[in-house]
């Protein structure tokens, strides 16, 4: 463990995982909002909205995340000149958040849509009989029940998102996988220990997340 005893290395290690957490946090919020909106579009009676939602899901769910993130950097930033922050790292960070969000939103959308299918048809019919509009039905009756039934899949998506965040390293953000590569590069004699520390940190972050979502899913499940 002499590698991590060096304060510079240890700081790099900490900041690497801090970037991962920041990426995961911001992307999770955006992906949840976009994903739920997309799901609403996909079940709406308006064909254009349905088509838009389906197109989004099919494009981003079937494109490798590396390409999505690369497009954000070389397409949005480099070619189209979309600059999100003066600071280089922050700019890369926000470009990464865009990529992760649009990609993960596709998965969130499909999870929510499968949740919508678990809500008995009678619920929507009753809501319509009461005179609620489509938006009201969705917001007040269907989505609350739908999202509660897909908490466990949300957990899986969040875990995947956290690991996917390492891909932002390819556009130059010094997140954990880049830090690991640097450390391996500089300490060729300690490849396995370094690898185990990084893998172990991910496991330490994500295993409790999995259990937490399992517990939450149980607690929030709609009892029928």
């Amino acid at each position: 463990m002499h590698v991590f005893a060096d304060p510079t290395n240890f700081d790099a290690y900490l900041s690497g995982f801090l970037w991962i957490l920041k990426l995961t946090g911001a992307s999770a919020v955006f992906a949840l909002v976009i994903g739920v909106l997309l799901a609403a579009m996909r079940v709406s009676p308006v064909p254009v909205l349905r088509g838009f939602g389906a197109a989004w899901v099919n494009i981003f769910r079937n494109t490798p995340l590396t390409l999505v993130v690369f497009f954000c950097y070389f397409g949005l930033f480099s070619t189209l000149g979309l600059s999100l922050a003066e600071d280089l790292n922050l700019n890369n960070y926000w470009l990464g958040v865009i990529g992760l969000s649009v990609y993960t939103a596709a998965f969130v959308c499909e999870a929510v849509r499968s949740g919508v299918n678990t809500v008995p048809t009678g619920q929507a019919e009753a809501a319509r009989a009461l005179g609620l509009t489509f938006a009201q039905t969705l917001r007040i009756v269907v989505l609350p029940q739908a999202t509660r039934s897909v908490v466990a899949p949300f957990g899986s998506i969040l875990i995947a998102l956290c690991k996917n965040a390492t891909i932002v390293g390819t556009i130059g953000l010094m997140e954990s996988s880049n830090v690991m590569k640097d450390l391996l590069n500089a300490n060729g004699d300690a490849v396995i220990p370094i690898f185990l520390v990084f893998a172990g940190t991910f496991a330490a972050l994500l295993i409790p997340t999995g259990y937490f979502f399992g517990w939450l899913a149980n607690r929030l499940a709609v009892k029928r």
């Binding site: 000149g81 280089l88 130059g172 500089a186 060729g188 004699d189 396995i192």
Partner: protein, 305 residues
């Protein structure tokens, strides 16, 4: 050996011990592979040929060599299809010829900066000729012949840029490869420059072209190779003010002193018979830079004190 672990008098326990057995087997395999990777570094003096050990022995015995080169650096080591070309590759060919190995019997292997020492230590490659800077840290693990070229860190900027040296980079954006020596030097010596890092220099160039970064930094010889690429001809210039010294060596196993001395002899011969200059003219010379003199007095002493 495993069957002893299951007592015959306890058939009802069989299922459980089977499981334990399997777990133990998996653990043993894991431990074994762990141990093998861990020990790979110091496992003897290589798979030499008959008689003499090391690369000289292998070249004599098997008439074959495995040489590690870079695959993504124009002018030095660039892979196009299954072919490798560049100055490093030409140098490697000269050495192979000197060792009595024909060009067709060289097996090229792509190496990146991070795996060069492990590849040599584990015997994956016999030689590494891949923009390999000789330094003391690396000398502890492997042996260096050469240097066959002295590079220096420099800046690549747009043709109309006013940057003339690293001290003008304050607040500017500079692109380099993460983990590389040039990137580290930027961080420690010029921390006021913002550093964009990628895994390959080729990604820096479109950014430089579009003006999102102000300079690309690495060894001058590598930059010259990029500047000479057809699609960027005339757009970039190398500043030409080096701020470090990077002697490129040829890496081989630490124990292989004979091989190292032999390579130095070959390099000396190449400097005097013109094949060194021919190698330069064929590759990096195309950028318009005249062939450097190979200073044979600076060749390493191959680890002898």
């Amino acid at each position: 050996m495993w069957s002893n672990a299951v007592p015959r008098w306890a058939p009802f326990k069989k299922e459980k011990s089977m499981r334990i057995k399997r777990v133990a087997a998996v653990a043993a395999v894991a431990a074994l592979s762990f141990a093998m990777t861990a020990c790979g570094g110091d496992s003897g003096t290589g798979s030499g040929g008959s008689g003499a050990s090391g690369i000289v022995g292998k070249a004599e015995g098997q008439k074959k060599l495995v040489i590690g080169v870079k695959a993504d650096q124009p002018g030095l080591g660039l892979q196009t299809g299954s072919q490798y070309e560049g100055f490093d590759v030409e140098i490697a060919k000269i050495i192979a010829k000197g060792l009595g190995v024909e060009e067709g019997n060289i097996e090229w292997k792509t190496t990146v900066s991070a795996n060069r020492e492990p590849f040599i230590q584990q015997g994956t490659v016999d030689l590494v000729v891949a923009t390999y800077t000789i330094n003391d840290e690396r000398k502890q693990k492997i042996n260096f012949a050469g240097p066959y070229f002295i590079a220096g860190q420099d800046l690549l900027v747009k043709a109309d840029s006013t940057i003339t040296g690293p001290e003008q980079l304050e607040g500017k954006k500079v692109c380099s490869v993460s983990g590389s020596t040039p990137a580290k030097r930027m961080q420690t010596e010029y921390p006021k420059a913002q550093l964009q890092q990628f895994d390959a220099y080729s990604k820096c160039l479109p950014l430089l072209e579009n003006g999102q970064v102000d300079a690309v930094t690495t060894d001058d010889i590598i930059l010259a190779g990029y500047a000479a690429q057809d699609q960027y001809a005339g757009k970039f210039k190398v500043v030409g003010k080096t701020f470090s010294e990077e002697p490129y060596g040829i890496g081989l196993k630490k124990e292989d002193k004979t091989g190292c001395e032999k390579i130095n002899e070959i390099l000396k011969a190449a400097a005097s018979d013109g094949s060194y200059k021919a190698a330069w003219d064929k590759t990096l010379g195309k950028s318009g830079k005249a062939a450097p003199e190979l200073d044979t007095t600076k060749l390493t002493n191959c680890g002898s004190v």
